[in-house]
């Protein structure tokens, strides 16, 4: 449990990538990865929510442990995440209405993005301290963005290619995801495990 923050960051960015190795946050990965110019902002928004949620979850966990209310952990985490998403939504609506519309339903759905709750739960289960938690959440968000952008790039290319009817859509996206995931397995061992 005494990994350095940097180790955690690299490990969760590449070897234990949230999307491709731990299967967290697949819905937006398959849903918003159609175009590059929405994929990147979506990644950033999710990263922001992940970091905020991780920060709050860390403080909350101390409080809950102090009062011996561990069984309320799940409920309170999800409430915190919902509030953080609401915040991002309001900020985006005010400063970038175009982006707000482009992300559409996927923005409120960040609440039900497993990656966000996953970070909060994993950092609790692994008993990370404050610096480790931060490295974990920032790395996780960056990894999510990386996977999303890579996927969007691939799918934009594939729109120009003639593929069989039956393979179009989700099946193709899943195959691509599999190949990407295979490629990311090459990073295994970097960062000393997760």
């Amino acid at each position: 449990m005494h990994e350095s923050a940097f180790q955690i960051f690299v490990s969760v960015l590449l070897a234990n990538n949230f999307v491709l190795a731990m299967f967290l946050g697949l819905c937006p990965f398959l849903g918003v990865s159609g175009r590059l110019d929405t994929a990147f902002p979506m990644g950033l928004a999710t990263t922001f929510v992940i970091v905020v949620a991780s920060l709050c979850a860390y403080g909350l966990n101390i409080l809950l442990t102090y009062f011996h209310l561990e069984f309320l952990r799940l409920i309170s985490y999800i409430v915190i995440i919902a509030s953080a998403v609401q915040l991002v939504e309001m900020v985006l609506k005010k400063y970038s209405p175009t982006l707000f519309r482009a992300l559409g339903i996927y923005l409120p759905l960040i609440t039900t993005n497993c990656a966000v709750l996953g970070v909060a739960l994993f950092q609790t289960a692994r008993e990370y301290d404050f610096v480790q938690s931060m490295a974990f959440s920032v790395g996780g968000g960056a990894g999510f963005t990386l996977a999303l952008v890579l996927m969007a790039g691939l799918r934009e290319r594939l729109q120009l290619v003639d593929i069989p009817d039956i393979a179009q859509g989700t099946a193709l996206a899943l195959m691509l995801g599999g190949i990407l995931s295979l490629a990311f397995m090459g990073f295994a061992g970097i960062g000393g495990g997760g």
Binding site: A21, L24, L26, L30, T111, G169, A171, M185
Partner: protein
């Protein structure tokens, strides 16, 4: 949950509600909801089945409760209410699994608690349970839950057979079998689900061709 037993005329409709999730709107293969647990825990048939049943339990309980409370909850706070209801049942399941089998609990890991953010449950609560009486909502939720279980099992079984050469931990091919390890690793999940979808798309296409309907596949 039933307040009135369904009479004969309603039986057809009830059956319809039940099979909707089981096949026509299967959460895994048709709606593509709840992908994260689908791909993450299906490394073996046992894991897949127990995850499916846990999700089905949460789904039925939450939908029934949401449906009971549908006239009490104000519209503005409904999502938050649903989430809290779901989180409560997930906490129950979490502690129950921990009590029944610690090995299973370790295998499923954080994904039990992540049932909270499974899109199927919130989606069903919002789209169906909040508009229908408890009996109908529970039946529909049960169908969805079982459909999800079947989908998970289809993935888990294939991955276990190919990746470990066994089913439910029983070796199928003898000692000479060289396991296809990548199937139980993350990429295998993507590949197997992709292949199932390809298979279904091919089947649909074939059915259309046999029916003489030369319409192009509309699902994109």
């Amino acid at each position: 949950m039933s307040q009135s037993t369904p009479n004969a005329s309603a039986r057809n409709q009830t059956w319809d509600e039940f099979t909707e999730g089981l096949w026509r709107q299967n959460p895994v293969f048709v709606m593509m909801l709840g992908m994260c647990p689908t791909l993450a825990v299906t490394v073996s048939a046992v894991n897949a089945l127990s995850m499916g049943l846990a999700t089905a339990f949460v789904l039925v309980c939450s939908c029934a409760l949401v449906s009971l409370m549908r006239k009490v909850v104000p519209k503005e706070v409904r999502i938050a209410t649903y989430i809290v209801i779901i989180a409560t049942f997930v906490t129950v399941v979490d502690y129950a699994i921990q009590m029944v089998s610690l090995a299973l609990y370790d295998a499923l890991g954080a994904f039990i608690q992540l049932i909270v953010v499974n899109c199927i449950i919130l989606g069903r609560a919002e789209a169906h349970a909040s508009k229908n009486p408890p009996w109908v909502a529970s039946v529909n939720a049960l169908g969805m839950g079982l459909g999800f279980t079947v989908g998970l099992f289809a993935l888990g079984a294939v991955r276990e057979i190919l990746g470990a050469g066994s089913l439910f931990g029983i070796s199928l091919f003898g000692a000479d079998f060289q396991p296809w390890v990548v199937m139980v690793l993350p990429p295998g999940g993507f590949f197997v689900l992709g292949s199932w979808l390809l298979g279904f798309a091919w089947w649909e296409k074939r059915k259309q061709r046999l029916a003489g309907l030369q319409t192009p596949a509309e699902r994109g």
